[in-house]
């Protein structure tokens, strides 16, 4: 059957109404459950916005990791630029010197700009969609506040330090400034994982890799800076009898995390709190986990966080941090340091550049924990079994 025959089967009016202007999709008010679920992910309530996001993910994947993609080409070009300037590809150079050599090269800059364009368009698409449905989103968030299983503790009057107020990853409003930040973050970051995390596969791998204490039961687990609660829920699934908590500085994030967890039937508890001031008693937890948090805070605050982690862990309890440099050393290669720089400057990664110099093992030791440098594998992008050994720490007895 050809297209002409197909179209003759139905009325032109039906087709005309089906082929609405694409631009309308992002600003249309739609029932949030209109399109149902894909596994445990509620499908975005607009086909056109979902299709847009798919395409942006595809472009990002091509830019970032395709064999002939822009970043592979840019990396090769960076070696040429270094050679033209009399340097080898592995030479350790200061970031300002690297920038001076590379910022005028069209291939290097186009690869960065294309990647950033996908980032900007991703946020723009999901924000416009959820903003158009703001009342429905707020209604379902409020309706879930007292609903179990699990609990929600919003501390809306708490002091939020400036370091946490930035538009990290250029998410509009950042983690704390938009009441729908949880929705925006959840669907926006699906793009980050390039199609490999629509069912929280990465967070499930992090939870699976978290090493339990060698002695005693796992009765209580804390995830610090839990954002929209994906790892928190995964930890509960691994330890169904444990009391599991997720904390985050962002009220909108834990608001969304609680709603989503309760919809999934996960009995986990969320609290709006700082990672460096969790409010839990000394020695309360058997395990603490963090995922992609350390590079989002200043190094001085990380030192405070390590003290707090040690304080809330019982003797022999474990801390499993998964972040950029917990399973791999910070980059020495000039191209990758250049990448880290523009990610810091133009992708809202305010603290990620100084994080390259963060000495996590020393802070863990100072806080009273013993460090195991090669622990269970972890990967930021794929399942843990495919990752490198990740460090973890054990509270000294």
């Amino acid at each position: 059957m050809d297209r002409r025959t197909l179209f003759n089967l139905t009325g032109a009016a039906a087709l005309a109404s089906a082929m609405r202007p694409l631009a309308a999709a992002a600003t249309e008010t739609l029932p949030l459950d209109l399109r149902g679920n894909d596994g445990q992910l509620r499908r975005l309530p607009s086909l056109d916005v979902a299709s847009n996001q798919e395409f942006l993910t595809e472009v990002r994947t091509w830019v970032q990791s395709a064999p002939e993609g822009l970043m592979r080409v840019a990396r090769a070009r960076a070696r040429e630029v270094l050679e033209e300037n009399g340097f080898g590809p592995r030479e350790t150079l200061p970031v300002p010197q690297i920038i001076a050599m590379m910022e005028a090269d069209p291939t290097l800059m186009a690869s960065a700009r294309a990647w950033l364009a996908t980032q900007q368009l991703t946020w723009q698409g999901v924000k416009q969609l959820f903003d158009a449905n703001q009342e429905a989103c707020l209604d379902e968030l409020r309706a879930a506040e007292k609903r179990g299983p699990g609990s929600l503790e919003l501390n809306t009057g708490m002091h939020i330090p400036d370091y946490a107020k930035h538009e990290i990853h250029i998410q509009p409003g950042g983690y704390v400034g938009d009441p729908l930040a949880g929705y925006i973050y959840h669907y926006g970051t699906n793009n980050f994982f390039m199609g490999h995390n629509n069912q929280d596969e990465v967070q499930a791998a992090v939870a699976a890799g978290a090493p339990p204490p060698t002695q005693g039961k796992v009765r209580r687990i804390l995830e610090i800076a839990c954002s929209c609660g994906q790892t928190t829920v995964a930890l509960k699934r691994r330890y169904p009898d444990a009391e599991v908590w997720g904390i985050d500085v962002s009220g909108p994030m834990v608001h969304y995390a609680h709603m989503r967890a309760s919809e999934m039937g996960a009995n986990v508890n969320f609290r709006q709190a700082l990672a460096e001031a969790t409010g839990f008693p000394d020695g309360y937890f058997d395990m603490v986990v963090s995922f992609l948090v350390l590079h989002e805070v200043p190094n001085t605050i990380n030192a405070e966080i390590m003290k707090e982690v040690s304080r809330v862990l019982r003797n022999g309890g474990t801390y499993y941090p998964v972040d950029f440099f917990t399973s791999a050393a910070p980059p020495k290669e000039a191209y990758r340091r250049f990448h880290r720089w523009w990610d810091h400057r133009w992708n809202g990664e305010v603290w990620a550049l100084e994080h390259m110099d963060y000495d996590l093992p020393t802070d863990l030791e100072r806080a009273g924990m013993a460090v195991t440098k090669k622990g269970p594998p972890a990967s930021l992008m794929r399942t843990g079994a495919r990752g490198r050994p990740n460090l973890f720490a054990t509270k000294r007895v």
Partner: protein, 113 residues
């Protein structure tokens, strides 16, 4: 500091970034063009996918409504097929950006003989 005059939920004030003002390609309009071409690709794919769904519905159901289109769930085979088409489209449209700019000839360079 950006503030929300009347909080709707659990949000607070935040620090607005300046990434909308980035100039990485020598001129802000060229930066805008990069964003435009990627946005247009996404819009085009959205239209293509909608047409695929309409065609499928007409072939299997003999009719189509906006709700049927929005709620359509592709089979695993369709998902794989459409993903391959999307990947091919991205490579077809954008791979020109991967050309080697180190050998790019200036506008006024002589014609090779």
């Amino acid at each position: 500091m950006a503030t929300n005059n009347k909080p709707l939920g659990a949000e607070s004030d935040y620090i607005k970034g300046d990434s909308d003002n980035m100039v990485m390609l020598g001129h802000p309009m060229i930066d805008s063009l990069m964003q435009i071409v990627i946005a247009l690709g996404a819009e085009m794919w959205s239209g293509q996918k909608r047409v695929k769904i309409i065609e499928q519905l007409l072939a299997t159901e003999g009719k189509v409504t906006p709700q049927m289109i929005e709620q359509y769930v592709p089979s695993e085979e369709q998902q794989a097929e459409w993903a391959n088409e999307r990947k091919a489209m991205v490579e077809r449209v954008y791979s020109v950006m991967s050309r080697n700019t180190a050998t790019a000839a200036p506008f006024t360079s002589p014609v090779p003989r």
